[in-house]
């Protein structure tokens, strides 16, 4: 166990089992459950079970419809759910494919070493696997302390394992949804308004007159509620201004599209402030009553004129004036959308601060057509003894470096697992649930070194992925359609709760997250924290405390509660913001104290190296994560990505549509797989666009057989693989991933040399 580089990624090396790699034809997968005779099942004839979608983080509530043979036939949105209003997105509609996917993890797996030193997995019973986990975790505890076992998680299954880790005594945890996604945005808004945005973002788009999107591609990201809201905005003839280097779907539906040079958003935002302040387009009463630091801001933005910004952003000054006036005209029913994935250029907290400030100038916060005040049902916490206090937590790792690290910074937790890390907060064991750091955390080579340096790795997931190959123990989790999870208590316009109830029994030997966490907990001697047999008991008790019950929720799916606080600010209402000054801080007193810029400034990010193109990545509406790619229904919608290339670039490289190319980044890393070219005017001439999540290479070897996501394995290029230049946001520790560049290779770099 002591040897450092002991962890081989479990895969087939060389031509060892080349015969097993043949992928079966697309048409043959599914026949096992799609009955041949066309038989329709109308919703009225079916039995229905309430669910909360887990295909993405929007967590829409819906109904699972089953036929007489108890087969899941469809999932349809719950009409009274404010996240989806009865209409799921393609991923939610096709969510049942996750359940039917035959590539799922089926049994627990344990890493074994054969006599010749080859490592592979063997199928194991739950008892065997849980015993290994108990031994492994206790071993980490003995050698390094419980804190050295880190938890990396995502989604609704996370809380079960958070509970387990906290009960055991480790608070070394984080989720990529923070540092790789929205932490910078939350930090920017907290610094300004004293409160973050959460999910769903409380943007009152349905009542807005003007919506500004900065690199936020609603419609491609399928944030269901917002997509629907924007649709109503289009119906009402509202103004939509989209700022994007790519002609996104929303850009096409916008009143105006500002094709910005990537990485210069802050310049544009400052220039907008300049116009809005100087032309007095801001909400004067609102700014006077609720904000702090207006005069400083006014002084600060004087040098950022549209003419200045035009040179940086490549957007004509006239367009900047025009769009600023449109925004001012809509005020306060103007929303400058904060976006969600905002880990871009390493100054992202400042960028979202600028967005927050702009919204404050327009008087949007707490106003109809701007940002509404949310309210959420507070369910009582389950009763258990107090959690033990760890010697150190994620806060020790990140909080000292980044004052605005409001949650575990995954990349820094992982960094402490590097062999060269000599500090006091060593991470020597990792527990992953529903997250795959190879695709979600940048700098793959480093991540691999970290994983190779771990002494114990557990993976709990529904699908095999890259991380599965690094595990000592793999536990198959039930999909969201087969399991019970915490009640969804979303903050929204109307406080509401939603129930995810198992519609069917888990397939094969998979188990729900709560069961897995509890079993591990019992083995670790945490009986006091699990004084229930079935998680349903906990939920029933919680629900009864707020005047509902399991029985009622099974019937309703979603329950609304009356609001107790106003949704918008009343006219001239006195309002205390949770900041040092009690006001919206245009000038951040905290930032000034901590040595960050109290007001955003524009800093250039460095230009594209010669011979390279900027790598722009983003979502496509039919996929969320690596794991949705293998959902047979969603794979059917889009089974391989295309690399968007401008015709000018195509001419220079001599590229044709559908041509296979490879990518190489400035550090010399070449993509594992190839990708087909799409020549399109929708992308800026010096950039390429790649949809996120493809290029899966998570192939594992179980009892002599290959297991992989066979529909998506090796298809396309993973953007994460190409990202090596990571810019750390000083305020939060978030990873800026958009300053990355690639070169297009037209010749197969893996072509075997002809042997003479």
């Amino acid at each position: 166990m002591g040897k450092l580089n002991r962890r081989d990624f479990i895969k087939i090396s060389g031509g060892a089992a080349a015969g097993a790699m043949v992928t079966p034809p697309l048409t043959n997968i599914f026949q096992s459950f799609v009955s041949k005779k066309e038989k329709h099942l109308l919703e009225g004839e079916a039995t229905k079970v309430s669910t909360v979608c887990e295909v993405c983080f929007w967590n829409c509530a819906g109904w699972v419809y089953k036929d007489r043979e108890n087969n899941i036939r469809k999932v349809i949105g719950n009409d009274i759910d404010p996240h989806c209003n009865g209409r799921l997105c393609p991923r939610g509609t096709g969510g049942l494919g996750m359940y039917y996917d035959n590539d799922r993890l089926k049994t627990p797996l344990i890493r074994v070493k054969s006599k010749d030193g080859k490592q592979s997995f063997r199928k194991a019973t739950w008892d065997e696997a849980l015993d290994v986990i108990e031994k492994g975790m206790k071993n980490i505890e003995k050698k390094y302390g419980k804190e050295s076992m880190a938890l990396l998680f995502h989604g609704k299954t996370g809380p079960h394992f958070e509970h387990l880790f906290k009960a055991w005594g480790s608070d070394t945890m984080g989720e990529p949804a923070g540092a790789q996604c929205l932490i910078t945005r939350e930090a920017g808004f907290i610094a300004t308004y004293g409160s973050g945005l959460g999910s769903p973002e409380p943007t009152d788009i349905t009542n807005a007159d003007c919506l500004v999107l900065l690199g936020h591609h609603i419609g491609e990201n399928m944030h269901n509620g917002h997509v629907q809201d924007v649709s109503t905005l289009i119906d009402r003839g509202g103004t939509i201004i989209t700022v994007d280097p790519r002609f996104s779907t929303m850009a096409a539906h916008s009143t105006s599209w500002l094709p910005i040079k990537p990485g210069t958003d802050i310049a544009l935002l400052l220039a907008w402030m300049n116009v809005i302040i100087n032309e007095e387009l801001y909400d004067r009463d609102y700014v006077a009553k609720y904000t702090y630091g207006f005069e400083e801001l006014k002084q600060h933005v004087q040098k950022y004129s549209p003419e200045w910004a035009a040179g940086i952003t490549t957007i004509p000054a006239g367009d900047i004036y025009k769009s600023a006036r449109q925004m001012g005209g809509g005020s306060p029913r103007t929303i400058v959308h904060p976006g969600r994935h905002t880990a871009w250029y390493g100054d992202d907290t400042q960028r979202t601060r600028a967005i927050a400030i702009l919204n404050a100038l327009l008087g949007a916060w707490g106003r109809k057509g701007g940002f509404y005040f949310t309210e959420k049902v507070k369910l009582p916490k389950e009763v258990h003894p107090p959690f033990p206090k760890p010697k150190w937590t994620w806060k020790n790792i990140s909080k000292e470096k980044h004052k605005m690290a409001i949650m575990g910074i995954t990349n820094e937790i992982m960094d402490n697992g590097l062999p060269e890390y000599k500090g006091p907060y060593k991470v020597k064991g990792m527990f992953f649930t529903a997250t795959n750091p190879i695709q979600s955390i940048p700098d793959e080579d480093k991540i691999k070194r970290i994983l190779e340096n771990q002494e114990f790795i557990v993976v709990v997931d529904t699908m095999p992925s890259e991380i599965t190959g690094y595990a000592d123990v793999v536990l198959p989790e039930a999909t969201y359609l087969e399991r019970l999870d915490h009640i969804r208590t979303s903050h929204h316009k109307s406080p509401n709760i939603a129930l995810r109830y198992p519609a069917v029994k888990p397939r094969w030997e998979s188990k729900p997250g709560w069961w897995i966490a509890r079993e591990i907990g019992l083995r670790l001697g945490l009986k006091d924290f699990y004084e229930w047999e079935d998680f349903e008991e906990v939920l029933d008790w919680q629900l009864k405390q707020v005047g509902s019950s399991m029985e009622e929720m099974k019937k309703l799916g979603v329950k609304h509660f009356p609001r107790k606080t106003p949704i918008y600010l009343k006219k001239d209402e006195d309002y205390w913001f949770n900041t040092n000054t009690g006001k919206i801080e245009l000038y951040s007193t905290d930032f000034a104290e901590w040595g960050y810029d109290p007001m955003p400034t524009y800093k250039p990010h460095g230009d594209i190296p010669a011979g390279y193109l900027r790598l722009i990545y983003g979502r496509i509406p039919m996929h969320t994560f690596g794991r949705t790619l293998n959902n047979p229904y969603l794979n059917e919608l889009k089974n391989e990505p295309k690399l968007w290339v401008n015709p000018k670039v195509a001419r220079i490289y001599g590229l044709n549509n559908e041509q296979e190319v490879w990518l190489q980044n400035p550090k010399g890393k070449i993509s594992s797989f190839s990708i087909k070219v799409r020549i399109t005017e929708r992308i800026r001439h010096n950039s390429v666009f790649l949809p996120h999540g493809f290029g899966n290479k998570g192939r594992i070897f179980v009892d002599g057989k290959v297991q992989e996501m066979h529909l998506t394995y090796g298809r396309g290029i993973s953007d994460a693989e190409m990202i090596s230049n990571v810019l750390i946001d000083p305020e939060t520790g978030g990873t800026g991933m958009k300053n990355n560049f690639v070169k297009i290779l037209t010749d197969n770099p893996y072509k075997k040399e002809t042997t003479s």
């Binding site: 697309l26 919703e43 209409r87 393609p90 419609g219 399928m222 629907q228 119906d235 919608l637 001439h685």
Partner: protein, 177 residues
């Protein structure tokens, strides 16, 4: 009674919810589809136009597919919905060749399959599956003969186009600009 569809391309985001909903509702085998999304881009960066079209059988008024069918398997039912009777279809492919929209395909079981406007749902007063799930509500289904129906009003009040009108099939799916 004349069923038709109106699709607002100014709202459609091309998410393909309609495609997956159809696949699930109608047990369309994997690798096949009754509806699909086309993306239409014109212009030169940065002066561009784009829209998506959710396409399927146009349930035309003038049906070359039904005309060329040698057995009568392809037929029109009440409301102008074009259907294929599986047990009458010999799989000759004449209707596939006759359709300018490539809306028909050979089901792996041999017969020709296509969009039915989800007539089994329409009978029950429901919208077709594709329309019922659309997150942007850009799709509308209804009676074109009734001037007071939502769809008639939309088509009459907004600029619209149909696909390949020059093929002379009088398609009944209208794309609203």
């Amino acid at each position: 009674m004349r069923y038709g569809m109106a699709i607002e391309v100014n709202k459609c985001v091309g998410c393909a919810d309609c495609v997956v909903a159809c696949q699930i509702e109608n047990n369309v085998p994997m690798g096949y589809s009754r509806d699909w999304i086309m993306e239409h881009v014109t212009g030169t960066y940065p002066v561009l136009n784009m829209h998506f079209e959710s396409q399927r059988c146009n349930h035309c008024d003038d049906t070359p597919c039904v005309r060329t069918c040698p057995t009568g398997a392809s037929h029109v039912i009440e409301g102008g919905i074009v259907k294929v009777a599986q047990d009458d279809c010999i799989g000759c492919g004449a209707c596939i060749e006759a359709c300018p929209y490539d809306a028909r395909y050979f089901h792996p079981d041999g017969y020709v399959d296509k969009c039915t406007f989800c007539d089994h749902r329409v009978e029950e007063g429901l919208d077709p599956a594709c329309v019922s799930v659309c997150p942007t509500t850009c799709m509308h289904f209804g009676d074109l003969d009734n001037p007071d129906s939502e769809i008639s009003k939309l088509i009459n009040s907004r600029e619209n186009f149909t696909l390949i009108p020059e093929a002379g099939t009088a398609p009944q799916i209208f794309y609203l600009k």
